[in-house]
């Protein structure tokens, strides 16, 4: 691969088409990425971003269209071929071997070796270096990936993309499971790579991120490239308008609602390791946000509360009455539902249909013993329309949906179950701007109807924008809850990291 100078076209994709059976995912996309630039790829959920970059990475073969790397025609025969030609990729869905260690994962397929025998010292050195670049020397390269949190796993994936010294680096929503400071570190790394002349394709639904790090952008809509240009001088509003075909009125719509009586109370709740001694009061009609760094134990708090992890001590009160520690089934009956942050591993049965996943937790409306499939499909179609889920029909398999649309199905399940208390772990992960607004509005409406939600999110503007109350988790403990209007992003971050609050 001849090294290309900055500013040369490192990668071009012309008139790319790709369909999956009757679904046209990409219909004439053209994109050009120069060496040493960060090229933002934006678009609504299901616009075709992931499909496009998967073609680049050799996962899919295009129906038609031309690809070129540094001016040479490029038709990857498979992921290996693409990797060898210098295209590294961080996929939207995590791609790790859980039984292997961090170092084995990072160098998988490219192990330093002599005649087949591993050079373990070299491996350790290279992985340590990559983790140092990400400023995560705290991670033990020998640790099994299975025991890492989603955030840490994402770091492993990024490290993997970095060690290959790629000419083209594709990042498909890399920050959706990263906390604030890790995002900053990632941006510094991306900056350094850009300086070295790497062409970077960056997909994200956080448009403010893009305005910070991207040099140019391309907008996809319905499988077509509809706009592109330089980031400088472009506003978020312009991009949003290009994505959705219309302007977005408001980012954080507020439906008026007032907190009522207490529905859920935690007293000194402790789990296996995390959380530790958590007190929390949740009222009807309240949206309660929890901020915190990766590993702060927010996920564990929700899991313990929902009965997925054991409770070691403490009490859970529902409407003032002590609730026995129960299974998820019992919690659902008590009107509590959970949206998992790990949608592929835990949240959804990806081999099954949209309707199956959406209705699984509450099948009673379709018959107590016999289940009426048609009624199930109709019900599903209702939610598909309401949340704008892009799918062919209710019987399409989840695996064939785009990441954001999968997330919407998971959320729709809670709406279908009609729970009183929603435990939402990173609910808008991978969801596009316009849909986020829809979801915020839906949450507001639920609150207005007297439902309550605990919202765990690493995206602070979202917490401040829609929550009534926010508390910060740190090392398993939950800090004092304060009204959202009393918080600023800096204050949240300061409490999360334990730094002194600078007034």
């Amino acid at each position: 691969m001849p090294a290309s100078g900055r500013g040369d076209v490192a990668l071009s994709m012309r008139a790319v088409r790709k369909s999956f059976g009757p679904v046209v995912a990409l219909d004439d996309v053209t994109i050009e990425v120069r060496a040493g630039e960060v090229h933002a790829l934006v678009g609504e959920n299901g616009a075709g971003k992931s499909t496009l970059v998967k073609i680049l990475a050799g996962v899919h073969t295009p129906d038609s269209g031309e690809l070129a790397l540094a001016g040479h025609p490029f038709r990857p025969r498979g992921p290996l071929d693409a990797l060898e030609r210098g295209v590294a990729m961080i996929y939207q869905e995590l791609n790790l071997a859980p039984h292997l260690s961090i170092e084995e994962n990072v160098l998988l397929g490219r192990e330093p070796a002599r005649c087949g025998w591993l050079d373990k010292r070299e491996r350790r050195a290279r992985v340590t270096r990559a983790l140092a670049v990400l400023e995560h020397a705290d991670l033990d390269p020998g640790e099994r990936v299975a025991s890492l949190s989603p955030g840490a796993r994402q770091l492993v994936e990024i490290a993997r993309a970095l060690v290959g010294e790629p000419a083209v680096l594709v990042l498909d929503e890399p920050t959706s499971s990263l906390a604030g400071d890790d995002v900053e570190r990632l941006f510094r790394v991306i900056g350094a790579l850009r300086e070295r002349g790497v062409a970077i394709v960056y997909i994200s639904h956080f448009l403010d991120e893009l305005t910070r790090i991207a040099d140019r952008y391309t907008v996809l809509r319905d499988g077509r490239s509809v706009a592109s240009g330089a980031m400088a001088g472009t506003t978020v509003a312009t991009i949003v308008a290009a994505m959705a075909g219309r302007a977005l009125a408001e980012h954080y719509p507020r439906v008026p609602h007032v907190p009522g009586e207490v529905v859920l109370e935690l007293q000194g709740l402790s789990g296996r390791a995390l959380p530790y001694d958590v007190d929390l009061v949740l009222r009807r009609g309240e949206l309660f946000g929890i901020a915190g760094l990766v590993g702060a134990g927010r996920t564990e708090l929700l899991r313990a509360l929902f009965g997925l992890d054991p409770i070691r001590s403490g009490r859970v009160l529902l409407a003032g009455v002590t609730a026995e520690p129960g299974s998820p089934a019992a919690r659902l009956r008590q009107g509590i539902g959970l949206l998992s942050e790990d949608r592929k591993g835990e949240g959804l049965a990806v081999a099954r249909s949209v309707g199956f996943n959406l209705t699984l937790s509450r099948l009673e409306p379709f018959g107590r013993v016999f289940s009426d499939r048609r009624a199930r499909d109709e019900c599903t179609q209702g939610f598909v329309d309401r949340l704008g889920i892009r799918c062919r029909d209710p019987r399409q398999r989840i695996a064939e949906l785009s990441g954001g649309n999968q997330q919407k199905v998971a959320l729709a399940r809670l709406l279908h179950h009609d729970v009183d208390v929603l435990l939402l772990d990173e609910p808008t992960r991978g969801i596009d701007v316009a849909s986020k607004v829809e979801i915020y509005r839906t949450l507001g409406e639920l609150a207005a109807r007297g439902k309550a939600a605990i919202l765990v999110s690493s995206y602070l503007p979202e917490l401040i924008g829609i929550c009534d109350t926010i508390a910060v988790a740190r090392r398993g403990r939950l800090g004092a809850a304060r009204p959202a209007r009393d918080w600023t992003e800096t204050a949240l971050l300061a409490e999360a990291t334990g730094a002194e609050v600078v007034a």
Binding site: P328, G345, E346, L348, F356, G367
Partner: protein, 317 residues
């Protein structure tokens, strides 16, 4: 239209396999292969594997496996014979046989869910335990029992003659219809698929995974128990050494019928067709008078071919 066809194909898959086997042997042309007498014979020969495959379909859909069915069939056949021999009536004996299977299945299910051991190991253990128990109870011999209507369940000359098939065959069909309906259209069926597709999701959605699993293994055990009663009917004696290795035939029938050992996939009708395919294979080999070793090789090849056919079809779309 094309859409329709695509949906039909996976259902047709096992039928294609069966058609392939039928065509193959018809081409080789042993006498009587396609005769109605032979159909009746094969149907009777299929009852035991077929019944086992019904329960196994549930187990495999739920992502599990049950290696103990062969032994449970033997145990149930011994129990049935012993109960009859003790002077009880035939119905009691049947209930005892099915109940034995149910109990074995329950134990499997409880061990799997309560101790968290993989089904392969639990049921491998049960394979030995049930077989040993059968031999112990039977005093290491076959158990003779007075004649009863259980024997008539598997006769090829049923009364009244318009039944055509042995009553056991009709029982198989009826049970298959019921279990297919349960799988397609009930909450339990949906939960079975959910557990097999993604257990964590099922748990999250409030499916009582433990209960569902126990129920599935109990069902599989009960089916094996019924198969044991039929085996007794066929042999007229309780045989502690019968059905050795039958579990592999049964699993093969389910997989040929579209079941996936990774869980989340399987069809009752498919498994039934798979069971018939296995029977016709052995039958055809017998009829062409192939020596045993040819038969073993041929059956091995055709099992692979039948599943390959299915996979190629999958890949083609």
């Amino acid at each position: 239209m094309k859409e329709r066809l695509r949906k039909l194909l996976p259902i047709l898959g096992p039928f294609l396999g069966l058609a392939f086997v039928l065509a193959l042997f018809t081409a080789i042309g042993p006498e009587g292969f396609l005769s109605s007498y032979n159909f009746r014979t094969v149907a009777t020969q299929t009852v035991i594997v077929g019944l086992g495959a019904l329960g196994m379909t549930y187990v495999i859909i739920s992502g599990g496996i049950d290696l103990s069915v062969g032994s449970v069939i033997a145990l149930a056949s011994v129990i049935t014979a012993l109960v009859l021999d003790a002077g009880h009536d035939a119905l009691t004996a049947c209930v005892a046989g099915v109940g034995t299977g149910l109990a074995c299945g329950l134990v499997n299910g409880l061990l799997i869910t309560q101790l968290g051991i993989v089904p392969f190991i639990v049921t491998l253990g049960m394979l030995g335990i049930a077989r040993g128990l059968a031999k112990y109870l039977a005093d290491e011999q076959k158990v003779d029992a007075p004649t009863s209507w259980i024997t008539d369940l598997m006769t090829k000359a049923p009364e009244p003659a318009w039944l055509f098939f042995a009553p056991g065959v009709w029982l198989l069909f009826a049970l298959a219809a019921v279990l297919a309906l349960v799988l397609r259209s009930t909450v339990f069926g949906t939960h079975t698929f959910a557990v097999g597709s993604n257990e964590a999701t099922a748990e999250l959605c409030g499916v009582r995974v433990t209960r569902v699993k126990v129920a599935i293994y109990a069902l599989c055990g009960a089916c094996a128990g019924l198969a044991g009663v039929m085996q007794f009917g066929r042999l007229t004696v309780g045989d502690p050494t019968t059905a050795m290795g039958k579990e592999l035939d049964i699993i093969a029938a389910v997989v040929i019928g579209g079941g996936s050992l990774a869980g989340g996939e399987g069809r009752i009708l498919g498994s039934l067709v798979g069971a018939f395919l296995m029977s016709y294979l052995a039958n055809g080999c017998n009829l062409i008078g192939a020596p045993t070793f040819i038969q073993e090789i041929l059956i091995g090849c055709i099992i692979i071919a039948a599943v390959a056919l299915d996979r190629l079809r999958h890949a083609a779309r």
